[in-house]
């Protein structure tokens, strides 16, 4: 872990009350996850017991304590997506990637996650790949996305239905 980068982030929050969550968000943005050493340094910085920092880091769904894949595949499990077959999409993705939901492929290429609701309910079912929403997803299209060269597909950027 790059201590220099971490210190740079911490400096911004010097003297700010209640900034633990914002710090964790910034650190995760920088490193992709929350390395254990970083959590200890943050605890020192805020003069908090490490247990409290770990407690907060494990309470919120958006914090990750281990390295994640280059591409994050989040399959929306909101209500509208649920009735339009989101569970099947999750099963398909698990099968294609060979991992369970919440896991990362051994080559660190993909992480598979379920997400509560993306707010794209009128275009259900929705899948979020990195920061892009793909709407009205079908198992076939998902298969195409996950087995093809994702970088190339994203470059063409045609998430049309």
């Amino acid at each position: 872990m790059d201590n220099h980068k971490l210190n740079k982030i911490l400096l911004v929050f010097e003297g700010k009350k209640g900034s633990l969550i914002s710090i964790l968000q910034r650190v995760q943005e920088e490193f992709g996850y929350l390395p254990e050493e970083a959590l200890s340094s943050i605890a020192d910085f805020l003069s908090l017991p490490p247990s409290q920092v770990f407690s907060v880091a494990t309470f919120y769904k958006h914090f990750f304590l281990s390295r994640r894949g280059d591409h994050i595949i989040s399959i929306c499990q909101g209500t509208a997506c649920h009735v339009c077959g989101a569970r099947d999409l999750l099963a398909v993705a698990e099968k294609i990637l060979g991992i369970k939901t919440g896991q990362t492929t051994p080559d660190y290429k993909y992480s598979l996650e379920r997400v509560g609701c993306l707010g794209s309910c009128a275009l259900a079912p929705a899948v979020l790949i990195d920061d892009e929403v793909y709407s009205k997803m079908t198992p076939d299209r998902l298969k195409e996305l996950l087995t093809g060269d994702l970088d190339k597909i994203k470059a063409q950027k045609t998430p049309r239905t």
């Binding site: 009350k17 209640g18 900034s19 633990l20 969550i21 914002s22 964790l24 968000q25 409290q52 407690s55 907060v56 309470f59 919120y60 769904k61 958006h62 914090f63 499990q77 909101g78 209500t79 509208a80 649920h82 009735v83 099947d88 997400v115 509560g116 609701c117 993306l118 707010g119 794209s120 309910c121 009128a122 275009l123 259900a124 929705a126 979020l128 920061d131 892009e132 929403v133 793909y134 709407s135 950027k157 045609t158 998430p159 049309r160 239905t161």
Partner: protein, 642 residues
């Protein structure tokens, strides 16, 4: 990106009085008063995910190429709410509404509509039930039956251009409150209007403000609750993305009324565009001196900060949200003391929902009299619903309180897809309940929905047809609740888990006699014993669905049948021997090789291998229709199929 109407130096000019604001507005309106046409491209999250960005770029590029920039403007606007047909494009001033626009359609729209005044027929909205096409947005039934007060700017105003907002009376309500009303006068106005919290619980907004105002303190806070984690609801996202200025203006008015100097917007982590637009809006308002120190020379200071949530649904509960802002785990605490008395850092804090804040400027501008005439005697004003599920027209709809569910689903939503029969509508998300057909004429309101065993909640409306299983939906919501429970109090932590387990068993055909009674008993315990609203309301989907659809639960438990054919363990695919032509299609398509047979040999499904994916049924030619999906114990298969 709006057209830069005013040059940069003038922008640096602060708005230091009500007159200055009015002057700027008049100048902006005069500068924009031309007869030129405008293309309004919706750039809400949903339309962007359908490709709106490339459509907008194509318009800009091609109009530039044709040197038509003087005559045709391209404006990014917020969400029309009709996300199903995105990307949406409106040609103003006529109001021609195009759907599913791709960048390939752009040249045609320019040459036909913008230059020749002709309509591109195929891009018009077509009513799926009647096949009738509509030219103008205002005529489309989806929009016609709505009453858009909170959403009035969505689809018209550029969400990233404060001047565009100022043109449509933006910040006028704030200026009037600040320079012409006392804080007590503002609170009285809100009280008189009858506005109730739009986050779901419906607490009178004016009383909340008054409590915070009357509690002695050295500092007070305004918090905007944008932690819209409700699955199936996206009105707050849309308002924050499409009309961020109304939200901050509402907060500014609240800040003045309760004498707070700091506002915080807590935004759901999954809404990056909302964060982006709100940050922009705050920066622009600060630039113009509408936020900051000594606003309009009145001595009133107000600043707004954005805090991104970290993915905890429970943080939508006000005390949990406050804990989260303080940097702690978001666990609710018992109330009282209410946040209006003791909130953030122990100070009086007003926590209101996005929609509530966005309503406030409209009330101050038009008066409480005007607002209190909208709606019913009990419920004033309008409510935004996110209409999703098996209806034709899905999206955001704003209707007057007291509108019936039937009007929303059939008149606005266009009815059930494929003309299938309606089964139920789930209102209020994980805290709400299922409402059956016999109650469709129920007028929407906080109390009327509660009487029917549901809640208004944040306004999710999930429409279900016969293909949606009620037990499966109840299981879904309890799965959500047990996942999102913060784990602090045992009724919620253990109760939701056990209820989920029982429901999961029922949908898997492992239900036992007595399950319904245990579910109801647990529901009662959760309702009485939980610390916060999440636990207290989490049994609602179960209790209401047992109340109206008990028969379906019993079928699952006693007969192992799912009439909606949605619970996989309870269904079987089967090939009718007398219809099968042994064409090998399903045999080849089956992903797990579960179909036995050969050419000239009638096919059969090996139930032990079948994963119930339904592929065989999809590939079987309609003229054969040999594959059927049936429910019930597998032993009955033979006699049923033949």
């Amino acid at each position: 990106m709006g057209r830069p109407i005013l040059k940069q130096p003038e922008r640096d000019h602060k708005i230091d009085s009500h007159d200055a604001l009015q002057g700027l507005r008049e100048a902006l309106i005069a500068a924009g008063e031309t007869t030129r046409k405008e293309v309004r491209v919706c750039c809400g999250s949903s339309c962007i995910s359908s490709g709106a960005d490339s459509v907008r770029e194509a318009f800009i590029d091609q109009i530039k190429e044709l040197e038509l920039e003087e005559d045709i403007g391209v404006k990014r606007v917020g969400c029309h709410g009709f996300c199903e047909g995105g990307p949406n494009v409106v040609v103003a001033p006529e109001g021609i509404f195009y759907q599913h626009v791709t960048k390939e359609d752009v040249p045609e729209i320019i040459s036909e509509t913008l230059l020749e005044g002709r309509v591109v027929e195929r891009l018009l909205y077509k009513d799926p039930a009647t096949d009738k096409r509509y030219i103008y947005k205002r005529d489309i039934p989806f929009f016609k039956k709505q009453k858009r007060i909170v959403l009035k700017n969505c689809g018209h105003v550029d969400p990233a251009d404060i001047e565009d907002y100022i043109k449509v009376d933006g910040f006028e309500a704030f200026a009037r409150a600040l320079t012409g009303m006392t804080p007590e006068g503002v609170i009285e106005e809100i009280k008189q209007s009858g506005l109730r919290g739009r986050g779901g619980a419906g607490f009178p907004t004016g009383i909340k403000w008054e409590t915070a105002h009357n509690t002695p303190a050295d500092k007070r806070y305004i918090i905007c609750n944008g932690n819209e984690g409700d699955p199936g609801a996206f009105m707050d996202r849309s308002v924050m993305e499409s009309d961020p200025y109304s939200v901050i203006e509402g907060m500014m008015i609240a800040g003045y009324a309760v004498r707070a100097s700091k506002g915080i917007i807590y935004v759901w982590s999954g809404y990056p565009l909302a964060v982006h637009h709100l940050s922009d809006a705050i920066a622009q308002a600060t630039d113009l001196g509408l936020l900051g120190h000594d606003i309009m020379g009145t001595g009133f200071d107000f600043n707004i900060e954005i805090i991104k949530g970290a993915g905890a649904f429970v943080c939508g509960e006000e005390t949990a949200m406050i804990a989260s802002i303080e940097g702690k785990s978001g666990r609710p605490r018992p109330k009282p003391p209410y946040p209006a008395v003791q909130g953030l850092w122990g100070r009086p804090t007003v926590v209101n929902n996005v929609e509530t804040f966005a309503t406030v400027p409209r009330i101050i501008l038009n008066g409480s009299d005007w607002y209190s005439k909208i709606g019913t005697a009990q419920d004033k004003g309008t409510k935004i619903f996110s209409l999703v599920g098996k209806v034709w027209n899905r999206g955001l709809v704003e209707v007057e309180m007291g509108t019936t569910l039937r009007e929303i689903i059939y008149d606005i939503g266009g009815g059930i897809q494929g003309g299938r029969p309606f089964k139920a509508v789930q209102t209020g998300g994980p805290s709400g309940g299922c409402i059956p057909e016999e109650l469709l004429d129920l007028p929407v309101g906080y109390e009327s929905l509660a009487e029917a065993g549901s809640v208004m909640g944040s306004g999710g409306l999930l429409v279900m047809d016969e293909g949606t299983c009620i037990v499966n939906i109840a299981r879904y919501f309890l799965d959500f609740a047990q996942n999102e429970s913060c784990g602090q109090c045992s009724p919620c932590r253990i109760g939701t888990k056990q209820m989920f387990k029982i429901l999961d068993d029922i949908t898997k055909g492992k239900g036992e006699p007595g399950d319904i009674e245990i579910l109801l008993e647990l529901s009662d315990a959760l309702k009485k014993g939980s610390v916060c609203g999440l636990g207290m309301t989490s049994p609602n989907p179960v209790v209401s669905s047992i109340r109206y659809f008990r028969k379906e639960y019993e079928e699952h438990i006693y007969e192992k049948r799912c009439r909606a054919l949605a619970c996989k363990p309870l269904i079987h695919y089967h090939i009718k021997k007398y219809r099968c032509k042994a064409c090998m299609r399903c045999l080849r398509a089956c992903p797990v090789g579960a179909i036995i047979g050969a050419k000239w040999q009638v096919h059969e499904i090996d139930q032990s291998k079948c994963i119930k994916c339904g592929t065989c049924m999809k590939v079987c030619p309609p003229r054969f229709s040999a594959v059927e999906c049936i429910t019930g114990p597998i032993e009955e298969l033979g006699e049923k199929g033949e």
